[in-house]
Symmetry: C2
Subunit: 225 residues, 2 copies
Amino acid sequence: MREIQVEKKILGANDALAARNRRIFAEKGAYVINMISSPGTGKTTMLEGTLGRLVAGGLSVAVIEGDVQTRNDADRVASTGVPVEAVITGGACHLDASMVGKAYSNLAPRLPERLDLLIVENVGNLVCPSAYDVGEHEKVALVSVTEGEDKPLKYPSLFHAAASCLITKTDLLPHLEFDLKLLERNVRAVNPSIRLFLVSAKSGEGMEGWIEYLASRAKETRACP
Amino acid sequence: MREIQVEKKILGANDALAARNRRIFAEKGAYVINMISSPGTGKTTMLEGTLGRLVAGGLSVAVIEGDVQTRNDADRVASTGVPVEAVITGGACHLDASMVGKAYSNLAPRLPERLDLLIVENVGNLVCPSAYDVGEHEKVALVSVTEGEDKPLKYPSLFHAAASCLITKTDLLPHLEFDLKLLERNVRAVNPSIRLFLVSAKSGEGMEGWIEYLASRAKETRACP
């Protein structure tokens, strides 16, 4: 009971800071996504593939990169030339609005005047990050075809909270006994209105649709922040 | 600061309950492991393969099965004929000593007189479960070859807390660009004394060594609980 009360208080304070972040992001006019998945689903590899294509398409992008330990992922993203700010949470299993707000303040002086997209890569965790609003326009859930068809049913909170879902590593499908249709059904059972993208950062399959979606959202946000 | 104080208090209360569980498990004489990994690493599939072999070898085993939602995994385990008790955490991202203590009480009337092994399958999460002692003899970390070589460095708390590490899904290695030696080095960099097992529940590769290890631990515990 005590734990629940403390949790409610923490989440309430977080929501206020998330609203503040949202106002700051709106001033910049950027579309903001919050990428969430298990460790090892391929968030950073997807991010690299996404950044390369967005930049090649003339969009300006920046990244806030969350990790429990190490700057490895931030360094991988930085090597694409995109502005990136690392958040090392120490032990914390999720990013919260305060961490993202501070990271954005650090990032701001390095941002171009026009920013189309801000991508937050959360800590690898299928449970906790889904409870924290960091001021994003949408949460993007990622799940790979090596993880099992049952994940949306077993960890519904993320799939319920996300507006889009990337099913990653589709290049591995020929080597797996995996029922893709069952995974899709399970995702939709938790969230009937979720947008599904089947993607492989390795083969490039499905990346075009995902990039077009982000570009159209960025354009809409630019018109009406 | 307030959050940290609350966290310390919760962990302190948990440790007292974990010590209580440990006394109860010692009365039964069972060796107790706590299996922890990301969602999708293959904990339940490994568990099924492990149970089948242990039972065939004449050992008596029981399972406490943690999940955020659904009894799917508990049902999979129950179909092996082994006594199983499900813990549905609702939203909680880890098992704690209180949940495991209650589950064991429910399980106790169904246990055989001699129990060699009690296996706790934790909620799929590479971060939070590692902070909670549930009264186990050892935590077992699982990481699959589809998750990337950097996971032990990015999520060190589990690999630091675990006495054994199963590297799973080795049957997929021919289809991946994966540096197994690098993963092993990264595991040992975080925990030089960890026991490593390379295993595939699908092909059976490496399962023998893992089963022999559990059987020898169960025998030692029976002799000196």
